[in-house]
C-alpha cells in the first residue's frame, strides 16, 4: 500500500528526515517511536502534504502513485487520513456540519450520493456513541474550546467517518487520560481491518498496549535506527531511547 524509499525532508531549510524507508501492506499496523525531535511528526506531515515541509529526496509510492505529487486534499480523497497531534481550532465552523462536508467530499469523489443532514446524523450518532462523545460536541465549533482529550477523540471521530485506507495517527495518545485512551483505542481497533493500514506515531509504549502493532520502528535523528516486532516496544519501555543512537 505504501512504499517510502529513502525519504529526506525538512522544514525551513534544515533537514529533519535523513533517509527513511518503510513498506506498509494492507492490514498492518506500524508503530513509529522515538524521542522528541527525532522526525516523527515531520514524517506524518510530509505524508499528509503539509506545504511548509519540503521533500529533499527519496520517494513515496501510495497504491502505485507518486504521493508527493498529489495535493493534500487529493491524498485525503484517495484514503489517507492524518490524525493531528495538535488539531487546529476553527471557531465559527460547526463540527457536525464540517464532518458532513468532509464525508460528502469523499462521497462525491467516489461518485456516490451526498448525504443530507438528517441521513448523516445517523452515521454521526453511531460513531460518536462508539467514542463516548457527548452530544454537545456536534453542535460546538470545530475543536473550539475542546479539551485536549476531546480534540483527540474528535480526530478519531473523523477517522471513523471517513474510513481511510491509510491512517497516520500523530501522537493521538498524548493528552489522553487512561479512560479516554481506552475509548480512543477501542475506536481505532474497530475501524482497523484487513483492508486498511495504520501508522501510529508515539513517544510512549502505553498506546501499544491497546492497539497492537505488527511492526515497531525506532526513529532517531531522522533515520530508522531499529525495526522489529511488537516486543521492541517493551524493550524501549524498559531501557529508554538512549541505547539506540544512529551509528554514523
Amino acid at each position: 500500500m505504501l512504499e517510502v524509499k529513502d525519504l529526506r525532508a525538512g522544514f525551513e531549510g534544515s533537514e529533519i528526515i535523513k533517509g527513511i524507508s518503510l513498506s506498509i501492506k494492507a492490514g498492518e499496523v506500524h508503530a513509529i517511536m522515538g524521542p522528541n525531535g527525532s522526525g516523527k511528526s515531520t514524517l506524518a506531515k510530509v505524508l499528509a502534504g503539509h506545504p511548509s515541509y519540503e521533500v529533499t529526496g527519496g520517494e513515496v509510492i501510495y497504491n502505485g502513485e507518486n504521493l508527493l505529487e498529489i495535493e493534500p486534499e487529493q491524498r485525503a480523497l484517495k484514503g489517507i487520513f492524518m490524525g493531528f497531534q495538535y488539531p487546529v481550532e476553527i471557531p465559527g465552523v460547526n463540527n457536525a456540519e464540517f464532518l458532513r462536508m468532509a464525508y460528502n467530499a469523499r462521497q462525491i469523489n467516489e461518485g456516490k450520493e451526498e448525504l443530507d443532514p438528517l441521513d448523516f446524523d445517523d452515521i454521526l450518532t453511531e460513531k460518536m456513541k462508539m467514542l463516548s462523545m457527548e452530544k454537545k460536541y456536534r453542535e460546538r465549533n470545530l475543536n473550539d474550546g475542546f479539551s485536549g482529550g476531546e480534540k483527540k477523540k474528535n480526530e478519531i471521530l473523523q477517522m471513523a467517518i471517513l474510513q481511510p485506507k491509510l491512517a497516520v495517527l500523530d501522537e493521538t495518545d498524548s493528552g489522553l487520560d487512561i479512560d479516554a485512551l481506552r475509548v480512543v483505542s477501542d475506536g481505532v481497533n474497530k475501524i482497523k481491518s484487513a483492508d486498511n493500514a495504520l501508522i501510529l506515531i508515539t513517544h510512549y509504549q502505553r498506546l501499544l498496549e491497546y492497539i497492537q502493532p505488527d511492526y515497531v520502528h525506532v526513529l532517531s535523528q531522522g533515520i530508522i535506527v531499529k525495526s522489529g516486532e511488537k516486543d521492541l516496544a517493551l524493550e524501549l519501555e524498559a531501557q529508554g531511547y538512549d541505547w539506540l543512537t544512529p551509528t554514523n
Partner: protein, 438 residues
C-alpha cells in the same frame, strides 16, 4: 493651500449653522428641547468640523461629507411592506419605526411589550431632573462634533423607559428608516434614550435601513443601565450604499449591571460608529462584539472608548472585519482605567481578514491605565487566512476553494453566533455572509 482648506471648512460650518437656523424656524422643535438644541449648536461652533489630523477622525476622511450640502428631509411615505421586510421574526409585535428621526406610530407595532415599557417623548422626559441633567452634562462634555450636531437637530427623540425590576420578555426592535432622496442630499438625526431601572432586563435590536440613497443619517443612542440591570442588544447597519452613516452609542452602567452588544455592519460610503461606555460602579460588565464585511469601496470605522471608572469592572471586546476590493475598515479603540479602579479586567481584540491587496484595515488598540492592580490585554491582527487551518481542512478532503470559503465565513460567523436573537443570526447568515460569495 492651507487658507483654502480653512475657507472650505468655514464654509461648511456656516452652511450647517444656516441649516440649523432653518431647522429652528421651519421644523420648530418643541419648546422644551430648544435649550438643548441651542446648547448643542454652541458646542458645535466650539468643536468645529474635524480637520484632517483630528485625533477622533484619524482614519476617517470626512472631507466629502462635510463639503456636501444637505437639506432636511421632506415628508415621504414609507410602505408597510417595506417595514415588514425589515422586522425580525422575534419582534413581530414589538417594533418601533423611526422615519428620518421621527417615531412613526402608524407604522409601529409594540403591542407585545406595551405594558412592559414606557415610551416618553423627549420633550416630556426632560421634565425629569435625571434626564435633564444627563442631557445637559453630555452636551457639555461632548467631544464628538457629529454627536453635538445630532443634539442640535433633535426635533423629537424618544425615551424608552424600563421600570425597576421589569423584565421585558420580547426584544424591542427599533427600525431606523432613512427615506433618502432622488436628487440632492438629506440629513436626519434620530435620537433614542434607553433607561433601565434597578434589576430591569431588556433586549433590543436596532436596525438602520434606507429607502433610497443620498442621505446622511447621524444617530445617537444613550443607554442608562441601573444597578443590577441587564441589557442585550444588537445593531445592524444596512443603509443604502450611496449614503453616510454616523452613529454614537453612549452607555452608562451602574453597579453590577450587564451590557452585551453585538453589532453587524454592511458598510456604505462611510459608516462610522462611536461607542462610548462608562462603567461607573463596582461590578459593571460589558461585552462588545462587532463584525463588518466590506466589498467594493465600502467603509466602516469604529471609534471606541471604554471608561473603567470603578473597581471590579469588566470589559471584553472583539472586532472582526473582512475587507475585500478597495474597501476600508478601522478600529480606533482605547480602554481607560481611572485612578483607583483596581481589580478590573479588560480585553480588546481586533482581527482583520484581508481578501484583496487594495483593501485597507487600520487598527489602533490603546490602553490608558491609571491604576496598578488591573488585568488588561489588547491585540490586533491583520492577515490572510490561517495556513494551518487551511491545511487541516484540506487533509479532510475539502478543496482549496471550499476550505477558503469555509474559513472566511467562519471568521465572521464566530461573531454572528454571539448574537442572542435567532432571527438576526439567520438574517445575517443569508445577507451579510452572502457578501463573501460575490
Amino acid at each position: 493651500m492651507t487658507t483654502t482648506l480653512v475657507d472650505a471648512s468655514d464654509q461648511a460650518e456656516s452652511a450647517l449653522l444656516n441649516l440649523h437656523k432653518k431647522f429652528m424656524s421651519g421644523n420648530r422643535p418643541p419648546e422644551a428641547l430648544v435649550p438643548l438644541n441651542e446648547a448643542a449648536i454652541q458646542r458645535f461652533e466650539l468643536l468645529k468640523f474635524p480637520h484632517r489630523k483630528h485625533e477622533m477622525y484619524t482614519f476617517v476622511n470626512t472631507k466629502e461629507l462635510v463639503s456636501t450640502v444637505f437639506n432636511l428631509p421632506g415628508e415621504t411615505v414609507v410602505s408597510k411592506d417595506f417595514i415588514k421586510s425589515h422586522v425580525y421574526p422575534e419582534c413581530e409585535s414589538s417594533y418601533l419605526v423611526v422615519v428620518d428621526g421621527i417615531l412613526n406610530e402608524d407604522l409601529s407595532d409594540n403591542s407585545a411589550i406595551q405594558s412592559s415599557i414606557n415610551l416618553v417623548p423627549l420633550k416630556d422626559a426632560v421634565d425629569q431632573p435625571e434626564i435633564k441633567e444627563y442631557l445637559a452634562d453630555t452636551i457639555e462634555k461632548e467631544n464628538d462634533v457629529f454627536s453635538a450636531i445630532n443634539t442640535a437637530f433633535i426635533s423629537q427623540g424618544t425615551l424608552i423607559d424600563v421600570a425597576a425590576k421589569k423584565q421585558v420578555e420580547a426584544p424591542l426592535q427599533i427600525l431606523h428608516v432613512s427615506t433618502g432622496s432622488a436628487s440632492g442630499n438629506v440629513t436626519s438625526h434620530p435620537r433614542i434614550l434607553v433607561r433601565l431601572g434597578e434589576l430591569a432586563e431588556f433586549k433590543m435590536i436596532v436596525k438602520y435601513v434606507g429607502v433610497q440613497g443620498n442621505y446622511f443619517v447621524n444617530s445617537v443612542m444613550d443607554i442608562l443601565v441601573g444597578e443590577q440591570a441587564g441589557v442585550t442588544f444588537s445593531q445592524v447597519q444596512e443603509d443604502a450604499t450611496d449614503a453616510w452613516h454616523y452613529s454614537k452609542t453612549r452607555v452608562q452602567q451602574g453597579r453590577n449591571s450587564r451590557v452585551k452588544a453585538v453589532n453587524a455592519f454592511f458598510g456604505n460610503k462611510i459608516t462610522r460608529h462611536h461607542f462610548e461606555a462608562h462603567l461607573k460602579d463596582v461590578g459593571a460588565e460589558l461585552l462588545l462584539n462587532s463584525v463588518s464585511i466590506l466589498n467594493d469601496a465600502e467603509q466602516v470605522h469604529h471609534f471606541v472608548r471604554i471608561h473603567h471608572e470603578a473597581p471590579h469592572t469588566n470589559s471584553t471586546q472583539n472586532f472582526k472585519n473582512i475587507v475585500n476590493d478597495k474597501s476600508r475598515s478601522s478600529v480606533d479603540g482605547t480602554v481607560i482605567v481611572n485612578q483607583g479602579a483596581q481589580q478590573i479586567f479588560s480585553d480588546q481584540l481586533i482581527n482583520n481578514l484581508m481578501l484583496s491587496d487594495n483593501a485597507h484595515a487600520d487598527n489602533k488598540p490603546n490602553l490608558m491605565i491609571f491604576a496598578d492592580d488591573v488585568k488588561c490585554t489588547h491585540g490586533a491582527t491583520v492577515g490572510q487566512l490561517d495556513e494551518n487551518q487551511l491545511f487541516y481542512l484540506k487533509t479532510r478532503g475539502l478543496s482549496e476553494k471550499v476550505a477558503k470559503e469555509l474559513l472566511t465565513k467562519s471568521f465572521a460567523e464566530s461573531i454572528v453566533q454571539t448574537i442572542d436573537f435567532p432571527g438576526v443570526v439567520d438574517y445575517l447568515e443569508n445577507t451579510l455572509l452572502k457578501k463573501l460569495e460575490a
